[in-house]
């Protein structure tokens, strides 16, 4: 986690969260073992993946799919399962830079 270097003296008592709306700062993407890889060329922008993604990790702009928010995608594979054009593939996320399937 981003604040893992902090100790018990540095964090709000009792697990309180003192800022509102900070869930987006909690990067749940590192829970993932497999990551969805999107093939833009096959995509019809039907938005079915956007509807089904339980983590709001499908990035959309002006009615068009833009890609996947890997900081928050937990790798459940629902998008790949639901996509009618089979343009999302789940691949092992090794987390290593430069490899296919790296986190960022």
């Amino acid at each position: 986690m981003s604040a893992a270097e902090k100790g018990w003296k540095d964090v709000p008592m009792g697990g309180l969260i003192l800022e509102a709306g900070n869930a987006k700062e909690y990067e749940t993407g590192d829970w993932r073992t497999h990551k969805p890889v999107w093939d833009e060329d096959k995509c019809s922008h039907c938005m079915i993946c956007w509807v089904f993604c339980p983590d709001s990790a499908i990035l959309v702009k002006d009615g068009k799919m833009q890609g996947i928010d890997y900081k928050h995608c937990k790798g459940c594979g629902i998008c790949a399962h639901e996509c009618p054009r089979k343009c999302i593939e789940m691949v092992l996320d090794t987390g290593k830079d430069g490899e296919a399937g790296a986190s960022e």
Partner: protein, 394 residues
């Protein structure tokens, strides 16, 4: 002016609660604590307090409502006994983990089965690891005084932990005794307004309470609870000092009775301490150096101070009104033995007596017998039995 009254323990607690005038009380009736809330409910309907009184469908809900109220920023209280405390169990840990300074008088009563409504300490002793501060009271006066002090202790910014104040079911809760009540304005001046730092009703500064806390932070937050407990002792003593100023009554972490020069000591909590003190007086008149240590603050456990007070005694008997069923004795005994492991000098001989389960009376002859056993142990150097069930029919 303070008032001197003849009063039961429950009446004393209900009076303290009226004077405290909490923002929220959520409670469910259970013998022998029922009267506390019943009498407090009268104060609510008579308009003597401003409390939001929540009649819930169970003790689990009572503690849940108190937690919600406390998280919202209220001074919240409840009261219960026995099965009621047992039903609050999971919520007790939540109150402590969220660091909510809820204060609850608990009237000690045995746990089923078999079903029993009378006094022993199984209920609160079972909650000793829940993270709550535990303060034990010998009589109605102590229960009244301890409850008022518990508000200040729990809400102290260095502490912020829930606190339970216990007294013995029926023996104290329903027994009439002499006590002195403080004036309402003196109590209110002493407890002051509760000013929480972070609370849900602070709409300018929205917070989340009770969020999911996995392996990345749970450990740190539980560590904070332990840390808060390290500061309780000092706060208890500070608050006691201030309380002495308004009441003239002195409180410490524990009470030594003819303990300083004692060779044989009994360690005990709550009402049986009164009976034991009379036995100490009788034995002293016969020339035996008997003494007694009555624990007031049991959680956190004031190890250093207790070890200091008991070091150098020839033999110690710990009297427990609860069993742990670990076969190593009652909860007080186990803690005392662990604490005394670090005592300087030769190891003090210690034995345990489990007494009074389910309200079984303990009498002066039995307590005198315990001191006799200690004398015998020192004379022979031999402990025949480390745990004795005292007063059970063989």
């Amino acid at each position: 002016m303070s008032r001197r009254v003849a009063i039961t323990g429950n009446e004393a607690i209900a009076e303290a609660m009226r004077q405290i005038n909490p923002d929220v009380v959520a409670a469910y009736p259970i013998t022998p604590a029922t009267e506390i809330v019943q009498m407090f409910a009268n104060s609510v309907s008579d308009g003597k307090v401003d409390t939001e009184f929540v009649t819930v469908e169970s003790e689990h809900s009572a503690m849940s409502a108190a937690i919600g109220a406390s998280a919202a920023g209220a001074r919240a209280m409840t009261a219960t006994s026995s099965q009621g405390l047992a039903l609050m169990w999971e919520m007790l840990y939540i109150a402590a983990g969220l660091k909510l300074p809820i204060v609850a008088p608990i009237v000690n009563r045995a746990l089923s089965a078999p079903i029993n409504i009378h006094c022993d300490h199984s209920d609160t002793m079972g909650a000793r690891d829940s993270g709550w501060i535990q303060i034990y009271s010998e009589d109605a006066q102590e229960a009244y005084d301890n409850l008022i002090q518990a508000i200040r202790i729990a809400e102290h910014p260095d502490v912020l932990l829930p606190a339970m104040v216990t007294m013995d079911g029926f023996i104290v809760s329903h027994g009439m005794s002499n006590a002195e009540f403080l004036d309402d304005d003196v109590v209110r001046g002493f407890i002051k307004e509760y000013e929480p730092k972070h609370y849900l009703l602070d709409v300018e500064n929205p917070i989340t309470v009770g969020a999911l806390d996995f392996s990345d932070w749970y450990f740190e937050h539980r560590r904070q609870v332990a840390d808060a407990h390290t500061r309780v002792k000092d706060v208890v003593l500070q608050v006691a000092e201030e309380f002495k100023g308004i009441s003239g009554r002195e409180y410490k972490l524990f009470d030594g009775y003819k303990l300083d020069d004692a060779e044989y000591a009994i360690v005990i909590v709550n009402s049986a301490a009164g009976t034991a003190k009379t036995v100490v007086d009788e034995l002293r008149a016969k020339g035996l150096k008997a003494g007694l240590l009555k624990i007031r603050l049991f959680r956190p456990f004031p190890q250093e101070e207790i070890v200091e007070a008991l070091s150098g005694k020839k033999a110690i008997a710990v009297l427990d009104r609860a069993d742990t069923l670990s076969l190593m004795g009652g909860p007080l005994y186990i803690d005392l033995r662990a604490a005394m492991y670090d005592s300087p000098g030769p190891r003090v001989k210690m034995v345990n007596y489990i007494y009074g389960l389910g309200g079984r009376d303990i009498n002066m002859e039995q307590i005198a017998g315990v001191y006799n056993d200690l004398v015998e142990i020192v004379k022979t150097g031999e402990i025949k039995r480390s745990v004795t069930y005292l007063g059970v029919r063989e």
